[in-house]
């Protein structure tokens, strides 16, 4: 089969000049007969909009920020690439891909799903990675693929209950303070239990008393910036300043403010 444009018996159509070529490549055309060609160019460009799927190795290395041992493509300022010889890592990867290329399509898809990004996603979704690595890998996967991880707790109700037990609300304390506030002088209320109250109070304490359990991880120091996090743009990415605290431009007008005393 000869390549297009090589048939000597073919009647050559009007040859495109450089200016028309550039217009077509930009998606513009003045002659209606060029519309199909511009549509092909557009379809070609649309292939660049399809999502890419990174390999498991790439995702892991991005999450760790570690590319040690990978054959580096060295930059040549004169143009082109001054590549280092391919190392064992690259050789193993290419041998694997050659075997893959010989498989049927369905087999390739099955292998790809088992060994590629989906498998890594599965491992990550199963929580099989250490916590810090789990978070990093999930973050990278969510950024570079359409996959998202559900962070909602599986049993919301149980968590609400646990929060209440942890001291989010102490019903007994609220009740007593409310009673003191509204009926401070009512005889027999302050500190005197009604028959049965102590028993009920003991029951409530066992259910609602704050349970100060130590946290699993030390709290992060909010004053120390994370050097690996993307710096916040002042005013937010979209220039939203609603969260910024405005500095006062005038002295407060309350009676507590005393202007500086002027000496004669």
């Amino acid at each position: 089969m000869t390549a297009l444009g090589d048939d000597v018996n073919e009647m050559p159509p009007h040859t495109l000049d450089d200016e028309t070529v550039e217009a077509v490549l930009r998606g513009e055309f003045a002659q209606p007969e060029l519309r199909p060609l511009v549509e092909v160019v557009g379809a070609l460009r649309a292939t660049a909009a399809l999502p890419a799927r990174p390999s498991a190795e790439l995702v892991t290395r991005i999450a760790a920020g570690d590319f040690a041992g990978v054959p580096a493509a060295a930059f040549d300022p004169r143009g082109g690439v001054a590549e280092t010889p391919r190392g064992k890592v690259g050789q193993v990867v290419h041998a694997g891909r050659s075997k893959l290329a010989a498989m049927s399509t369905r087999a390739k898809v099955a292998v790809g799903l088992a060994a590629g990004i989906t498998a890594l996603t599965g491992v990550s979704a199963a929580g099989a990675l250490p916590d810090a690595a789990q978070d990093r890998v999930e973050s990278v996967i969510e950024v570079v693929t359409p996959i998202t991880f559900d962070d909602e707790p599986a049993e919301f109700g149980q968590d609400v209950s646990d929060d209440a037990r942890d001291g989010g609300v102490d019903g007994q304390d609220v009740s007593e303070r409310a009673r003191d506030a509204h009926h401070p002088d009512e005889p027999g209320d302050q500190g005197r239990d009604q028959p049965g109250d102590q028993g009920r109070r003991d029951e409530r304490k066992s259910d609602d008393a704050p349970d100060h359990r130590p946290t699993d991880q030390p709290a992060a120091d909010p004053t120390r910036p994370d050097p690996t996090r993307k710096p916040d743009v002042p005013g937010g990415r979209d220039g939203d300043t609603s969260q910024l605290t405005e500095r006062p431009t005038e002295p407060p007008t309350t009676t507590e403010y005393e202007p500086p005393v002027r000496m004669p």
Partner: protein
């Protein structure tokens, strides 16, 4: 006659003014820097490889980025220069792949339909069919014509950048893109068109 223009690009493919910051972050091994560079260029690199008929364009693109990220310390230049560098690497990886497999680019059966994460099957089928048709057309071009058109259209490189990538003069690049488009136009005219 009034010129007609298609809106062919959805959203910017370039990082712009923040490129230096992103590059510095990646050099500091911050994951977000690598993510940004990858999400910016991976779709176009993968599309370029796919249109060239690479058997495993996603894997090959991942190899390209492994090499790019491992060699970031040696890179110096603007975002445009970075883009050229990435595609130079992709071009060489592809050439290596062809030499190893000793075969011409083919149009593989598309697994894209089988493992899309969402459920818009009809739209995806039309998209894949259109993509396949374009690949068939590109496969019939000479390798140099196809290379130049893909780097101009998919990679969005200038004539001079393409010349750097493939190691030819700017004049040769212009001649190849002209011949390539003329060849496509002739093919479309013979078939009565469409995708």
């Amino acid at each position: 006659m009034t010129a007609v223009r298609f809106v062919l690009r959805e959203g910017a493919l370039t990082i712009g003014n923040g490129f230096d910051e992103v590059l510095d972050a990646a050099r500091s091994r911050a994951p977000w820097g690598f993510e940004r560079l990858y999400t910016d260029l991976a779709p176009v690199v993968t599309g370029y490889l796919r249109m060239h008929g690479a058997a495993e364009p996603d894997d090959l693109a991942s190899e390209v980025f492994l090499g790019v990220f491992a060699g970031l310390g040696s890179f110096r230049g603007t975002e445009a220069k970075f883009r050229s560098w990435v595609f130079t690497i992709a071009h060489r990886r592809l050439t290596d792949e062809w030499r190893r497999s000793s075969r011409r680019p083919v149009v593989p059966t598309d697994p894209l339909i089988l493992d899309r994460p969402d459920g818009h099957v009809e739209d995806e089928v039309m998209e894949v069919l259109g993509s396949r048709r374009v690949r068939e057309l590109c496969a019939e071009l000479s390798s140099d014509q196809r290379e130049v058109l893909l780097l101009r259209v998919v990679a969005d490189l200038t004539v001079d950048q393409v010349a750097d990538v493939i190691g030819k003069s700017s004049g040769a690049v212009r001649a190849l893109q002209r011949r390539g488009l003329n060849a496509l136009r002739s093919r479309l005219a013979r078939e009565g068109v469409p995708l």
